[in-house]
Symmetry: C2
Subunit: 224 residues, 2 copies
Amino acid sequence: MDLIAIPNLSERIRSVVRERIVNGDLAADSRINEVHLARDLEVSRTPLREALNALVAEGALVTKPRRGFFVRPLSAEEFQQIYPIRALLDPEALRLSGLPTAERILRLKAMNQALEDEPDAEQRILLDDAWHLEWVADCPNLILLELIRQFMLRTRRYELAYFRDPRNLATACDDHHRMLTAARDGDLERVIEALKLNLTHGIEPILEWLGEGKRPKEVHNQEE
Amino acid sequence: MDLIAIPNLSERIRSVVRERIVNGDLAADSRINEVHLARDLEVSRTPLREALNALVAEGALVTKPRRGFFVRPLSAEEFQQIYPIRALLDPEALRLSGLPTAERILRLKAMNQALEDEPDAEQRILLDDAWHLEWVADCPNLILLELIRQFMLRTRRYELAYFRDPRNLATACDDHHRMLTAARDGDLERVIEALKLNLTHGIEPILEWLGEGKRPKEVHNQEE
DNA sequence: AAATTGAATACTGTATACAATTTGACCATG
DNA sequence: CATGGTCAAATTGTATACAGTATTCAATTT
């Protein structure tokens, strides 16, 4: 019997649309035209609407009754609210997980290396998320993990800019390294401190980016 | 123009179904038959499915592709995971909010009195939630507030048993009182400590309840 | 008697159709 | 030239229809 549940169409649509929002293909604040988007994706409106509703729950969209779905704009305000929450959730999950096993430390080391070598910004985000999840893989509080995953999705749009800059990548990998050495010393509290620092380092550069140029694409919703 | 957005059918359905889950009208672990439930609610399946998907995001239901929606059972495990998260979120929100104004303290005092006098368990939950939200009303992190509200909904099913017992109500009001006196003394840290204690007090009795009798109603999904 | 297969049935997932509401353009009016 | 009203087109919300997938249960085989 199905151990891996095959996602249905609406779940696949959700991923695709989320991608488009993250990339800016669907401009911030723009209204989503269900008919056009459905035609573009070559699906009907029903599963599309299910996907859009799910994205509302994720915080990527907002919905106004009888007006439609709108892309939640990237904003310094939202970002300044989301990131501190991760800095609250992640350390707690790590504390509950305890120190990683020697085997896991090895894996983490390899993952960090892969991150350092990765040229593509989007892949870097995925690797970074995987890295953080690996630390808390043994966390007994599954709902907390669910929550962390949810917030990883919400921060994704912002992190794209962060991981494009090699200097930021270097900072991140450095922080990660500090976590690893603390773990090898068996000092959980120091690991947690390093994690908090890591999560804090992201804030400044992203706020800067949000302040200045913001996003390039603006109007361009989707073609007719 | 519409300051208060009138909810559409699917949003209203969501509330109704959530209610039924909380009450146990839809038994834990039972599969939801969309056709029957739609007929029962006198709506079509489309908005019902939108509502059910939203409830999945809320954690009240789970969905298995091509199998359908299932009522997430109340379990000691889930509860033990949810409550500590509230004990993480609420104090942080309170810290960000700062001490309440004298005016707000008065209002809180009145709210606690109302809670103490309330005979109905369901109303008590609503009043208790309102009480907690009043403390953090000034929290600048709106997303954190959103999250707290979300978890209030998730804990609701469990708290019903808690607030039925007058002894638990007394304990809660007592904790609340302690928070108020600490606030009047201008000692935020002591308020936060009292809040943590308040949130912790709920755990034991509910676990006990979950261990023994559990819920009365069991089979009874919905009538044909 | 137990296991297995296969057809009938029930149910979910998706598409389409229809109703209700909003939007925007056009024109009349001050 | 601005303002407001009316109507058509566009768009969302809901219902219904259909297709594909699970489940059930009886018939058949071992």
